[in-house]
Symmetry: C2
Subunit: 387 residues, 2 copies
């Protein structure tokens, strides 16, 4: 076990109609809020109005900042920072998916900075403080509601950068599975794949062929995500499975899965960020298209580790490591098909001719993310495997 | 999934020789410390001196309060409260096992109260504040270092009561597996049993025969505790297994295993508290003696749940629920024997004639703990099963 510091101070309020507590919980923090949200869809569903109403009922002065887009952009965050500063906002309330919560984090840090918010992402400035954040996730997957990370795209320079800082933990996260009843099948599936990938990338970053504590933790959550996703797709209003998707996604990226593993990275997320930057693809769909190929690549490097994955996640054990590794990947691919997710770049309509551009973009990202353990030839080899 | 609030703000510093950071970490909190510790053993080992030195090096003014006994008593806590108040202590540093950390929590709350500390335990007063606590566990098992619970015995009234409060979370917990290299075999085994029991009691408190998220979480930790305990007994200086025991014990009782389960209790701990109150038995040994019998009782009530335990923890699946349940218990008993723990009250030298007194004491405890779901006849039936 590597040395680590674990500290996740986010308070989690979890349950049926927990969002009704938004106003009261927010008031326990501050009285002037910036309400950050995504595009119009939520307004149609009444959740936005309900949250707005709850805030106003509690006497919170609300400034609205809607319109965050799926891959959140710097320009919109800058507008939010200006709005927060102009209105002397004291707390950021984020209602939406990972993009909205990440934008809220950037605004929370940017609002207290004397310089442009992008300075944090370029690594030129460090975050010294941030406004408190109340996270209200409306879709399960990113885990941003209970962690200290954020990813933002500079639409001018076409750079997509992720950073983490202890001031970015939401002060409170209100997880209300009932708001995810209306999440469409594709978004439900892609959210589960996103959570699965967060766990899998750490899992496969290791060499061990025995199963330490973190492996048990992660594979248990993988099993939960798989089973709950299938149930939620079959019955979108099934509370138990929606609750399991929401809580498992949060636990998948709240710091525990990585604690003690030493340096871990997100190689598949790295590739996917290029994929969704170059092609208009949902994040979870991009991950699904990459994972089987990337696992095949990992299996050739360390079949025993993939064999362990097959044993821990699917309970298959009686074969050689090579065969087990292949069986684990086959079963995972079957699950992706069952939830109607793509399983290759080909399924997304990409072909050989797209690889060079994708590889070049990914390599540039790898440099930005300082992921020196993923040299260009590895990235390109993985991409070929994903076709 | 039941509604829940999860909030565990303890910062965990984990790693080789992490205790060397004690002074510096404490100074980040306050400068006048009460150092609470157990009986003399630690002084001999140099750990006590090292921590004391680290505190003094960091400029911390240290008041010493040693001598906490295994089942910590009110009288010693009261002395600690008086000492903390007299010396205007600002932070409590707890170096020891669960008893020491629990005593430190009681002192931390009592030092800021205008009434006697026992008022909290009687439920007559509620904890409104507490001094910050730095927890330095020297043995893996209780999990007290990362949770908000404490158990204390009033040696005059012979009441042993446990309570929880959000102010009792240690501010910082420094987990240094190297200090547990010297934990004797029996204490190593009993600590693992304690952690296992924390997980098992919640696991068996449920009726479901499918495996939700919490089951995966708990059974993964059970597997870790079992394997790591065997390795640590075979090689006491094996860092990986000592680290897994320490981290797994913390994760077993930091709130996650119970989040979403609704009301859960500690029926086997309840019985064990009577056992160790009436007979001079280490807590983990008492648990080990009770668990197989208590599991047998649970298996008759709900064989399918025990069958799931057998499948999740031991990977055995191909039999009827009844047979699987028995097989799970048999394998667990085998493990207890392997780590040289008792497996029945008989192994502790108790016999039929001891049951009535034990049952009467447990019933009184159940009333104190307000565990109405464990009526006298159930407690007595479990005890007979444990012979």
């Amino acid at each position: 076990m590597h040395d680590f510091v674990y500290h996740n101070p986010t308070q989690i309020i979890f349950g049926r109609h927990a969002l009704d507590q938004t106003g009261e919980r927010t008031r326990s923090v501050a009285c002037k809020a910036l309400l950050v949200s995504g595009r119009e869809s939520l307004k149609n569903l009444g959740v936005y109005q309900a949250v707005h109403h709850s805030l106003r009922q509690a006497g919170i002065e609300v400034t609205e900042h809607a319109g965050v887009q799926p891959n959140p952009i710097l320009g919109h965050v800058r507008q939010g920072v200006a709005l927060a500063q102009k209105n002397r906002v004291e707390v950021i309330v984020a209602l939406g998916g990972g993009s909205v919560i990440d934008s809220a984090k950037a605004i929370a840090a940017g609002a207290l900075a004397a310089h442009d918010v992008w300075g944090f992402f370029k690594g030129k400035k460090s975050i010294k403080n941030a406004l408190p954040i109340i996270a209200l996730p409306t879709v399960a997957g990113s885990g941003s509601e209970t962690n200290n990370g954020m990813v933002l795209t500079n639409e001018t320079t076409r750079q997509k950068i992720g950073i983490g800082n202890r001031y970015l933990f939401p002060k409170i996260a209100i997880l209300d599975p009932t708001v995810t009843f209306s999440v469409p099948p594709a978004a439900t599936a892609f959210g589960a794949v996103d959570g699965f990938s967060h766990l899998l990338e750490f899992y496969l970053s290791r060499e061990e062929t025995f199963a330490p504590l973190q492996d048990h933790y992660s594979t248990g959550l993988m099993q939960t995500l798989m089973a709950a996703c299938e149930t939620a797709l079959a019955n979108p209003r099934d509370y138990q499975s929606r609750a399991e998707l929401m809580w498992a996604s949060a636990l998948a990226l709240n710091g525990i899965s990585a604690a003690g593993l030493g340096r871990v990275g997100f190689p598949f997320h790295l590739i996917e960020h290029s994929l969704s930057a170059l092609h208009d693809i949902p994040h979870g769909a991009g991950l699904a298209a990459i994972l089987p190929g990337a696992m095949g690549f990992a299996a050739r490097k360390n079949p025993a580790r993939l064999a362990l994955f097959a044993a821990q996640v699917f309970g298959v054990t009686e074969a050689t490591p090579q065969l087990l590794a292949q069986e684990g990947i086959r079963l995972f691919r079957e699950w992706l098909k069952k939830i109607a997710a793509p399983t290759s770049l080909g399924d997304l309509g990409l072909s050989q001719k797209d690889i060079p551009t994708l590889a070049a973009n990914t390599k540039a990202q790898a440099r930005l993310w300082r992921l020196n353990e993923y040299p260009p030839e590895i990235i390109e080899a993985i991409l070929w495997e994903c076709l």
